[in-house]
Every structure is written in C-alpha cells, then in structure tokens.
Amino acid sequence: MQTQFQRLDGMRRAVAAGRLPGVSPPDRTARPPFAPATSDMLFPTLDFLLFFLVVAAALATLDRHFAWKKAILVAASYFFYAQWDWRFCFLLAGSTTISYAAGLLIGGSEDPRRRRLILTIGVALHLGILGIFKYLDFLVLSANQLARMLGLMHELPFFEVLLPVGISFFTFHGISYITDVYRGDVTVCRAPLDMALYMSFFPQLVAGPIVRAAYFLPQLARPSAEPIPVAAALMLILGGMIKKVIIANYLATGLVDPVFAAPDTYGGADLLLATYAYAVQIYCDFSAYTDIAIAVAALCGFRFPRNFNQPYRAQRLREFWQRWHISLSTWLRDYLYKPLGGNRHGRLNTYRNLMITMLLGGIWHGAAWKFVMWGALHGGGLAFERMCQPLLGQRSTSRFGKIIAWLIVFHFVCFAWIFFRAEDFTVACVFIAGFAHGWREPVQQAQPAMVALIVIGLAGQFLPPSSFERVGLALQRVPYWGLGAATGLILAAINALGPDGLAPFIYFRF
C-alpha cells in the first residue's frame, strides 16, 4: 500500500545504505541527489512558482469579482492536486459532496435522531474512504499474521491500494465540518463553491494545516477588507525555504537517511546525532510546508491558523502538544478526546482518554506498528505527566529546573521520533539497542556541517517569540519592488545552497 513516493523514498534510503544489488553507495563527497518525486508541483520548485504566477495574475484581474475569484481558486486547486494523480480529483470531489450533502441534511432537519443518523453516516463514509485507502492492506497483513500464529493456512490477498496524497487532511476537514454543523458551531454551507474551496484550497490540500470550517468558511462569505500582509508572507516563504531546502534536506541525505537505513553499522555518537538530526529535520520539513502554505494563502487573501510555535522549547509534554502541529492536536482534542469524556470523569478515565487519543493520532500517521508505538509513548507520557502533576506542581521558576524539564521533554520526544522515523518496529529496536555500545567508534556521518545544521535548527526554537513581528514591521517600510527583488535574490541563493533535485515533504505521505 505504498505510494510511488514511499517506494522511491525507500529506494533512496536503500541506495544510500548500499543495500540495492548493482547499485553503489553514493560518494559522500558529492552533493546528495534526491529521487524524483511523483509530482514536480512542490512548493520549492520552478513549477510551483509558475503555477502561482498564473494564480496571482488571475486573482489580480478578478479582484472585484469575489465569486469568480473563488471559482478560479477551486480550479487551480484541482489542477494542483491533479499533478499527483488526476484520478484522485474524483475522490476529493466525492469527499466534498459527502460533506456538503451531510451538512445540508443535518441543517435541514429538526429531528435529533435523524440529525445524529446523518452525522454518523457522514463520518462513517469519510472514515470508510480513509480506511480503504490507508489501512486496508495493514489490516490484511495483521489478519494474515494472526492467522499464521493460529496455524491457519489460508491468507488474504493484498489489495495494493495507492495512497492518495493528502487524503487524511481533506478527510479531517470533512469530518470537522459535519460535526460542527451537527453541534451548531458552524452555519450550514449552502454554496457548493465555498464548500469545494474549503475542502480543496491548494496551499493546505496535501499537508495541512487542518483548517476548521468555522475559521475558513466565514472568510468565503465576503471579500476581506484588510490588505494582504506581503512582508509577513514573504518572510514565511523565505524562512520555510531555508528550513526545507537547506536544513531538512541536507540533514536527511547527509545523516538521517544513511544512519536509519543501517543503524547496526554506526556507533553511539552517529545514532545520537541522527536522532537529534531527525527531530530537527521533521520540524524544519513540516513547519516549512505550513509556513509556505500560510504565506501562499495570505497572498491569495486568506488567513490560516498557526501550526507550530517553537515546539522544542516545551518544558512539559503537554506544552509540546500545544506547540507542535497545533491544528492536528486541537482537532484530536475537540473531535476525539473531549467526546471520549476528556478529563471530566475521574483520573483513570482521563488517562485512558489520553492514551486512546494519542494511539489513534499515531495510527493516523500510518498503518504500521511503529506509529502505534509512537502514539503509545506520547499517550503514556501525557498520562504519566498528568499523574505526576501533584508532585511536579506548577512550572519551575528556577533556571536549573527549567533546563532539566526541557532536557527531559526534548529527549523523550526525540526517543519517540526513533519509532516514527525507522523503517519498521524492528529497525527502531536495533537503533535503540545501538546506544548500548560503540561509543568509541569514530563518527562516520555526523560531520561538522551536519552538527552545525542541528545547532542552527535548534537555535531557531529559542529566538524571542516577538522577533518575527519585529522583523516584519521593519520590512513593511521597504518598497514593494524592493521586497520582490530581495525575495528573488534570497530564493536564488537558497536554490544555489540546496541539494540537487527534489525532496518531497515528509507529511505528504500522511
């Protein structure tokens, strides 16, 4: 049930480790190449620049025609999505139709039982689609393993379903809309164009952030009167490009991919630095995507919510989840944790609800036991933290206490990332076992440039929170032609500094 990207990505890792017959391991002095992505329509590409120029030209021409502007954005979004596989556009349209119809039916009914039935059917349809495309072969594999354990000879066939890019994200959009209509938290969307744009808007379509209907649909009701925050948008684009093209890509090819491909051939120092490197890589990769998505949406005249807030400076695991992938963690809180009962029914039920929420959050990332383990670690960690709350008390005010709290949380998160990143559960265990020996072996992959990138990536977590705003206010005084020229100049420099080829974003596979 792999996407072509996953297969290519696995192949790239195998090549890096020299595990493919007839393929030599790469020359480590050469600039690391990337396998071609399934689509060239990634943010840091010339294709996307050309695509966005066309969209910007259309929006500038249709500035006073809001309905046409929305229609152009829907068409552009479907064109964008079709670059991966045009057949998936029908899936997106189907998901949109389910959400739209369920919203209308729920909104048009006064009967609580009927409303509840429609909600159940709507959510079940969305989850059914997600389940077929994302989890069917995992369930077949698990069933076959169970059958073998029970001594049964018959095995179920695999379906080899191709995973549509971004299916989890538009499924979550659909479920949140139907649920919010049922709860009365959002007005029923009667305009099919608005619903189509909410479900398909291209900046967030393939990797989020998850934008709530209550947040986005009001923006489609009438044209925004506020100016487009160009300085902030350009800052987000440039920051995102540096994080993705330079930091994440080099850490991936230079350190993380080779070490995770064959952890038994590396010493403790390489393993430890590869763990830190992956923590920085996944942050830089994912936050880069959402930063650029936020900026592109802003340039189109729409607001997006914040998705990351310096997560690695958290001093509590709970705080980490208030700073990491905020749109997913709040989604899980509002549509899973709270409906399960949240913290309203005693301590034991609270721990159980935390565990269930994080386990399902883990499985959301993929159909594999390593994601189950990752979710279980975070669920267990959150429950343990809550259990120890009376002992831990309020946040430490001493510098020493803050540093200790930060160290514990950061290393716990890094430990959990090992399961998240490893090829499978067994490789993760081999990786962790490697920490027990080989500390005197010379460093192979974690050379100075890699360590510098880790330090730079982590240093960004400790910048004053107001620094973005301060720089943005200063840039607002620069004339527009200067902003455009400076952005082009910096983009060209990033392009020169980055590795050759394309590297898809990590979260495209979820």
Binding site: R31, D47, A496
Partner: protein
C-alpha cells in the same frame, strides 16, 4: 451568512499577527512583487533551468522549452550572472566536505 457564537470566538490563533496585517498590498501589487521576484530568480538561478526542463515530457513544446532553457542558461553564463550561484555551491560543497580533525575529503 450570519456568524454563530463559535465563529465569532476565534478557535485558533492567526498565523500572521494583527500588527503585520495593518499594512499591506492589493492583489495587483502582489502580482508585481511575484513577477519581480521571478525575474530575479530567472536571472540568478538559471543554472537549474536546464535540469528542470529535462524533467518535462516529450512533446514538441517540452523540446522547445528545453532548448530555450539551455539557451537562457548560456546567455546568463555569458553575462557572468551564474558566478554567484557557482560560488555559493562551491562554498556549500566545502562546508559539507569539512570533517572532524580538519581532514577535508
């Protein structure tokens, strides 16, 4: 569309703070900024255009684009606008080659 209670109350924080939303541009100015930026990229990052064109398909237009991209890169090289690109790549290559103990590969 009337706003409900939940719509009025912000569920989440806007990614771009309000202070940075007070001043800005209109869509035409955004287009102008994007065009200026794209022109800068076209002049200073021409080294990647032949590689980009190679990934295109096999139609008559794709072949024509490949020819244009190669010609464009050659023209930028003649104007020495590819020098900053080459210098940055070389510097990055040296940084990546640097090893512990000062032993460069």
């Amino acid at each position: 569309m009337a706003l409900t209670r939940s719509e009025r109350a912000p569920l989440v924080t806007d990614a771009i703070p309000p202070s940075l939303r007070r001043r800005g541009a209109n869509p035409r100015q955004v287009l102008a900024i994007c065009l200026i930026g794209a022109i800068m990229v076209a002049f200073l990052a021409s080294r990647d255009t032949p590689g980009w064109a190679e990934r295109l398909g096999d139609s008559w237009l794709d072949h024509r684009l490949r020819s244009i991209a190669g010609g464009w890169d050659g023209a930028m090289e003649t104007l020495r606008l590819t020098d900053p690109h080459e210098a940055l790549r070389a510097a990055m290559g040296r940084a990546l080659d640097w090893q512990w103990g000062g032993d460069n590969r």
